[in-house]
Symmetry: C2
């Protein structure tokens, strides 16, 4: 039994195992990951993953939750700021995602395929209540825009386009790089260009 009542953080090893697990899970996915892989990657004994986290699944859920939050909550600051225009928000959002994905290129495939494998379980945890939804500056500005410009189509298309053009290239990057012979650095440079280009294209769609 632990000595202190409050949970003591052996930050060192516990965190190292979690980081190892993050790397392995994110690269191989839940089903293909062996607890032994995580142990090896962390440099610690197999039993420690059950000592610190109760099971493979618990450890996975912990990491998955953090990833989903990385995706969703990190942009809350951007989309809820009433001081910036809609177009500025979109630009910041794209820039933010591209920077984040350059450091975590496996994230899109990982998140999409795990959510696909278990939508109910994972998405319930996201919370992100739909009431608050209405209060976001982003949503308000969005509505004003659709009213004013009277777009001939569902404005959801535009949001889809922003996310598609920003995220998909990372998911397709192994295929793309194979076909074009591009290096990772060249790919990243291409994505860097898109920080300016995507907002421009989206701007034209809103014309």
């Amino acid at each position: 039994m632990k000595k202190t009542e409050d949970i003591e953080k052996n930050a060192s090893t516990e965190e190292k195992i979690k980081e190892a697990a993050r790397r392995v899970f994110t690269q191989k996915g839940y089903a293909a990951t062996r607890t032994r892989d995580i142990a090896a990657e962390s440099g610690y004994n197999l039993a420690l993953i059950n000592y610190y986290f109760r099971s493979k699944e618990k450890l996975f859920e912990m990491i998955m939750l953090e990833h989903l939050q990385l995706f969703v909550h990190s942009v809350m600051g951007i989309v809820s700021d009433p001081a910036t225009s809609l177009e500025t928000k979109i630009e910041l959002l794209i820039s933010h995602y591209i920077d984040m994905l350059k450091g975590n290129p496996d994230l899109p495939i990982f998140v999409l395929s795990e959510v696909n494998a278990n939508p109910a379980k994972l998405l319930s945890r996201l919370g992100f209540s739909k009431m608050k939804h209405e209060k976001l500056a982003f949503v308000q500005q969005w509505k004003e825009l659709s009213a004013k410009k009277k777009l001939k189509y569902n404005p959801l298309h535009i949001l889809l386009n922003v996310l598609s053009m920003t995220i998909f290239p990372f998911a397709a990057s192994p295929l793309l790089r194979d076909r074009t012979g591009m290096s990772v650095a060249e790919f990243n440079a291409l994505m860097e260009e898109r920080k300016k280009l995507i907002p421009m294209w989206i701007h034209d769609m809103l014309k």
Copy 2:
């Protein structure tokens, strides 16, 4: 031993098992698929999957190859036709993919994540030699266009945009439908709209 020299097709069961495998593999991915799942889905005994196909891996590779060809070869007819304009090709390509993905919504995540898990192995099989590449009407028209319009950016961005806006929504569909409360039918209707919209947006990008 088989009676006839040439491989006899017991089309019925062999094909049924392959179809079952296709469903299970595509929905759950290689690592999460159990041979018993395939047996159950097919309605046949577990041993038959090793009787007809030599192993889980062999069966998977067979199916994966078909999927990759579905993605790549099926559009060859479109992109190699010298009689159609570049914009027409793009329109046909988008329409083709949307139709195909409406019937196989799990395909994008499946292909992307399996390619990600094993790029070398899967992409080598694709062939799709790079010499032939140069001979495609699509590529030629593409070059003419980049020369004429002198785009301020790598034209690869446009191809990326076409594929992103067309394919990504299917990959994100579980998440999207959860967040918006959309039904599958509503989602499909949205994608149907995109058959017209994406070519329009791409057209504007080429302006």
